[in-house]
Subunit: 458 residues, 2 copies
């Protein structure tokens, strides 16, 4: 009996926490296309972003440096939960009967329960350094809102969160957690903003989307000079901050004496995926390793697998710069699946560019397959995953089953980017047969793409 349940965790010491964030841009064969000002169609400059972000973050957004120093004050906070553990999923492997070796990097040990504090803390830190006293933001699943509320509490910054309606309704505990940290929460779409009000008089009937919630939070920041805005994914500086995940995982796999053949991460805006995979992609571009890097996205919001690569707005109301990315159109409202953190119409421009360069692949997964994987994972590995990373778990299990058939020596690395303590109604739905898979029709896709802004070529 004893040998059936062994669990290996690979722990680093605190002095192995990365002291720099990794910026992949200088290592890419082709630089990514710049964001454009929607009025002039010219590349945006720092001054265009200054109403929304502190200068330190704007500099990180456009930096060409390969490594960006992590301030000591941020490291002091990271040390509360970093380095995070890497686990070998022995018990899951055994249940699957697979020869594949499955590793998962677990970010749910953070105070907010996900990878989001990796960027929430530096964002709050730089805002505090520049004297900002209030931040606005959106949240989908609630993980980002929780993380920013936590970070703002540390730096004595007021925090106001627009939570996507579907998530606000389904996950009351997320709101309560954000409030416990001292932030305030609004259901989005709200009547507090022009962006929300234009959606009609009865927003409570609308499930909302990340694009709409972003519009609301951006509007408040843009119209109040003393307020700044913080985004939980999509932008270069957010992806940059998350690379601590992959940098640690590189060291931990080395401890395990293993080299990944498959790296699988879930993608909504893309920050968790980039955080895990970009340091490995650096090694791949340097010819040291050759893993297949796979994005797992929800079948109901398939920006990489069924979207177009085009300039589009980051939000629904069209207040952000235009970003070249894989998009379903900024008007696209995904079905209210449980993985609220993945309900974003676009994809991080940097990931979109990497995808276009052929450096990674993507697969879409229906949510019932995700929750089947999640329950099997919970009952073997003992951790109840958030709905978002179950997409990556489902693909990891697909690969592990393929390895069982082919006998190939497969080594899978995935990121378990958060726990599902606030998502248990989703498990209830799944376990009681109430979960459905909704597909995106061609008509809906075509409709979403009709609203793409016209951008002059060249």
């Amino acid at each position: 009996m004893d040998d059936t349940i062994r669990q290996h965790k690979y722990l680093l010491t605190e002095d192995q926490i990365p002291t720099t964030w990794y910026n992949i841009i200088p290592d890419l064969p082709v630089p990514p296309p710049p964001p454009l000002h929607p009025g002039t169609m010219e590349p945006v400059g720092p001054e265009d972003l200054a109403p929304l972000f502190p200068m330190a973050l704007i500099e990180q957004e456009v930096t060409g440096e390969r490594y960006v120093d992590i301030p000591g004050g941020v490291l002091d906070v990271y040390r509360q939960w970093r380095p995070t553990p890497l686990f070998r999923a022995h018990r899951l492997e055994k249940a699957l009967g697979t020869p594949a070796r499955i590793y998962y990097k677990y970010e749910g040990v953070s105070p907010a329960g996900s990878h989001k504090p990796n960027t929430a803390v530096p964002q709050a830190y730089y805002n505090a350094k520049e004297g900002i006293k209030k931040l606005t933001t959106e949240t989908g699943a609630g993980q980002w809102g929780t993380a920013l509320a936590f970070a703002c509490a540390l730096y004595d910054i007021e925090c106001e969160v627009w939570q996507v309606g579907a998530s606000y309704d389904a996950k009351p505990y997320r709101r309560l957690m954000i409030e416990a940290f001292g932030a305030s929460v609004h259901r989005s779409p709200s009547q507090l903003t022009e962006a929300g009000r234009t959606l009609g008089a009865d927003p409570a009937n609308q499930s909302g989307s990340l694009g709409i919630a972003i519009s609301e939070a951006v509007e408040v920041a843009a119209t109040h000079p003393e307020v700044r805005y913080a985004l939980g994914s999509v932008l270069n500086h957010v992806l940059l901050h998350q690379t601590v995940i992959g940098e640690e995982a590189l060291l931990q796999l080395e401890m395990a004496g293993d080299t990944p053949t498959h790296i699988v991460g879930c993608t909504g805006g893309g920050s968790n995926f980039a955080g895990l995979s970009f340091p490995f992609l650096r090694e791949k571009l340097a010819g040291k390793i050759s893993p297949e890097i796979i994005a797992a996205e929800p079948a109901s919001c398939p920006s990489l697998t069924r979207g177009v690569y085009a300039y589009d707005f980051g939000d629904t109301a069209g207040m952000t710069p235009l970003m070249k990315m894989h998009t379903l159109g900024h008007d696209f409202v995904p079905d209210p699946i449980h993985a609220g953190g993945l309900r974003y119409h676009g994809m991080a421009p940097l990931i979109s560019h990497v995808y276009e360069q052929g450096l990674m692949t993507a697969q879409a997964v229906p949510q019932t397959e995700c929750f089947s994987a999640a329950v099997q994972f919970a009952r073997t590995e003992g951790i109840v995953p958030a709905p978002e990373p179950t997409h990556a778990l489902a693909l990891a299990i697909r690969e592990a089953q393929r390895a069982k058939e082919t006998g190939e020596e497969t080594v899978i690395l995935t990121a378990l980017c958060g726990h599902g303590h606030f998502d248990l109604t989703a498990y209830d739905d799944y376990l009681n047969g109430r979960m459905v898979d909704e597909d995106v029709t061609e008509e809906r896709l075509a409709h979403g793409l009709e609203t793409l802004p016209q951008v002059p070529v060249g």
Copy 2:
């Protein structure tokens, strides 16, 4: 700004996980009184306990050995989350403006989110080794039920949980978490047992208690020869398993170069408190350190501070052996406070004995003071505590404030035995002014004590 938020965690390596559990009994000046068979009033023997527990646990219950070996198979599972971190609460200290140094041992990093897996895993392990395929249990706050469901999933044991009604109603996510791990949950009192049915036809109107839920779970195990029962606190073997907490904390405080002057833990049944404090009490009895050891109990369930030290049943229906302990009477039903894990009429016999020997003290804390401490803790340390350990946090803050007045060099150690992710409605009540402190009247105390069983003296 940077130096205001430093966070120190003290981490051990995996080879520093204790390989033995510590049994305090041989180190006590006087042995504790034995449990009695309620029919014969003679000390119970192993055969009396055999219908409920596997023999390995019965042996641990009565062992005179100072150290009990932890099986390799249990250590393999412990390694998933142990050693747990010890944190220095720098940010809380700063907010309090205290010269006291506050340390907290954080057990919320376990898969179930509390200290309970420390004993759930060995209990499931020993039952599985003896071929048991089904366990029953009770749960108050839901932490124990979650932990046992997790452990049973690992060993392929069926698990049936009676959840105290007040907790079942207030914490639906706890039930869902238990179900996600594959166990089944009943609201207690239920109509499934004689113990539940005798409480009347409309148990849904009753808030229940741990004593009632224990009766129900024990009844099912006692009347089904193939089923065993597992208890999450109170008994010697449960306290024994929890000593990994204190053993690790001893090493970690040594790393920190500090010696505690105050050790504060919350007490319901007492397992978390014993787990933290007994290894330190061993050092105190050996004359090496001299901390004050303080139990923090809820004002609404004050077994140590306002109960009597007498033989009483461990459950409401009177199915268990008689145990000499501090009790409010097995009929006492505490107010439905949010700290469901502390709503137990008695106290672990071993802690009661230690208390009678003058080796520790106790204080009762009203729940609004607890939640005031909890919110301050969440907004400084970044962790939202479960309601139970907020009792210890409140006393830690009292001591820290005293140190501020007296200037004494106070070093406080406490156990943050679980996170509050499933208790957020309690925070909602507190933050919105809906939380009240209910006191226990002398009449209610007297009523509870009327039903104490008569035990011949001598």
